[in-house]
């Protein structure tokens, strides 16, 4: 019995479902592999033949243009055939069960499923039911995990900061509903970041968030003090007028990243955001476009990191 459903009996990556429990060795392997792919985006021919003849199915049970597009670009740059399925709009509304959908798609000889689902754990269920050799990548499930986003974030941090072992990383905003934050926290602590802070109102932080190994701040200015990396989380529209928050304006006043608040962080601190961002809600426009912002490099690196994950999953003798 493998230690974790995403690893095979040799400890190699079989699926990518979460960064929680993902060994440091594998995270570093993904980041190092991504290094090779970054330069491919700069070539005349932005393609390598690694996944030629393989079929990658983008299964999006929940809408996401950006994540789906970056997975699609990544797969295409690896020469795979990409099939995009917007499941929300098709079979499930006709009453087909998740596993029936998967069995049908597997019968079409898929080699890899990229899954986004509103229910936490759905990619696990799918991973347990695919044939040996078929890989599943979690592209975001419920509030649980979004591992490729977490990995592209640590890739971005490594690119700009080189060494994880002296960093203070502050994650700001709606941690409670954020699978991105969870995936980041697990990856950062595994990589040896000594101080990960979460900053937000009590209503938007999980109750026992300290158990993830982070420090909790409710005062943003104190939380940003001396930070090397500031990660702003998206405040989802549907939360803004809910019971957890007074209003978007109020949130911006307290937890929006402005020049004044950013001045508390180190002068060379980088500002990140997983996108899509709400200007004037969690981040002030001049900061989003400012010299410390690495939000667009995150998008570019995201393609390379997704190429790395796919190429590590799809190659080699995977029949156990």
């Amino acid at each position: 019995m493998p230690a974790h459903p995403q690893l095979d009996s040799h400890g190699n990556l079989k699926h990518l479902l979460t960064t929680e429990g993902l060994p440091k060795r594998l995270i570093e392997q993904i980041l190092d592999t991504a290094d090779q792919f970054v330069s491919i985006g700069e070539r005349e021919v932005k393609k390598v033949p690694l996944l030629r003849g393989k079929s990658v199915f983008n299964l999006f049970f929940e809408n996401s243009t950006r994540t789906r597009t970056t997975f699609e670009i990544a797969a295409k740059r690896l020469s795979a055939d990409v099939i995009n399925l917007n499941i929300g709009a098709s079979s499930t509304t006709k009453g087909e069960s998740l596993l029936d959908t998967i069995h049908n798609l597997a019968a079409m000889d898929a080699d890899m499923f990229i899954v986004r689902h509103h229910s936490s754990g759905a990619p696990y269920l799918i991973a347990q039911h695919v044939k040996p050799g078929v890989a599943v990548i979690n592209a975001g499930d419920g509030r649980h995990a979004h591992p490729t986003q977490g990995l592209l974030d640590v890739y971005t941090i490594r690119h700009f900061k080189k060494d994880f072992t002296r960093l203070t990383v502050a994650i700001v905003g709606d941690v409670l509903h954020s699978r991105v934050a969870r995936s980041q926290i697990h990856a950062l602590t595994t990589l040896g970041v000594p101080e990960v802070r979460v900053i937000g109102p009590r209503t938007l932080l999980p109750t026992d968030v300290e158990r993830l190994g982070v420090k909790v701040f409710h005062d943003m200015k104190r939380g940003l003090e001396g930070a090397d990396v500031v990660v702003m989380l998206r405040l989802q529209n549907e939360r803004m007028n809910g019971p957890l928050l007074p209003s978007a304006q109020e949130f911006f006043k307290t937890y929006g990243l402005t020049a004044e608040k950013l001045a508390r962080a180190k002068p060379d601190a980088i500002v990140m955001h997983p996108g899509p961002m709400n200007r004037g809600v969690e981040i002030d426009s001049p900061i989003a476009d400012g010299s410390q912002s690495v939000i667009l490099p995150q998008v570019t690196f995201g393609i390379a990191v997704r190429m790395a994950v796919m190429s590590l999953l799809a190659g080699g003798d995977r029949n156990e």
């Binding site: 392997q29 290094d35 330069s39 021919v45 190429s311 190659g315 080699g316 003798d317």
Partner: protein
């Protein structure tokens, strides 16, 4: 076992055989050994030429068998990068590898080269040809021909700045 010849001598022989390359020729080394040879070979040629490097990991033909991770020593791969400083379209390429065997590395290197443009020509230079070809690949310049028994290999090793050819049992 016979002693293998000195690498500096072999590079000098290669340079002599190549003579004066066409103007604008780009010397491209294949990672890792080919890059070491290409640097020294370019320095030994009578004209100054642009050099590039190819890391062929992503174009290998054994990905389905071995995967990307198990293709090569991980730490090793990390330092390798493809670097093509100029547009290669219409240029003559002198492709350099250390030891040619099956020809599969050269095949992968040529495929990768074409992702950068359409070269006018490609010529292949190698330090040693150990035989055992599996593809129709032939070096244009080769300093040393060896007949190596199956199960043994010849590798180029680097110690400081010094290169040596060595026998290894697989």
């Amino acid at each position: 076992m016979t002693k293998l010849p000195d690498v500096a001598t072999l590079i000098a022989e290669l340079a002599r055989a190549i003579g004066t390359p066409a103007p604008g020729t780009i010397v491209v080394g294949i990672h890792t050994g080919g890059v070491w040879v290409a640097e020294r070979l370019a320095a030994a040629l009578p004209v100054k030429l642009v050099t590039g490097t190819l890391a062929i990991t992503l174009h290998r033909d054994d990905y389905d068998l071995r995967g990307i991770a198990r293709n090569a020593n991980h730490a090793h791969v990390k330092s390798q990068a493809t670097r093509m400083p100029v547009d290669i379209t219409g240029k003559h390429i002198l492709l350099v590898d250390d030891v040619v065997a099956t020809g599969r590395t050269v095949r992968a290197a040529m495929n990768e080269l074409f992702d950068f443009g359409r070269p006018a020509s490609i010529k292949l230079a190698c330090l040693a040809d150990r035989g055992g070809r599996e593809l129709p690949v032939a070096p244009d310049y080769c300093a040393l021909k060896l007949d190596i028994p199956h199960g043994e290999e010849v590798v180029l090793a680097k110690d400081g700045d010094r290169l040596t050819l060595q026998f290894h049992k697989k």
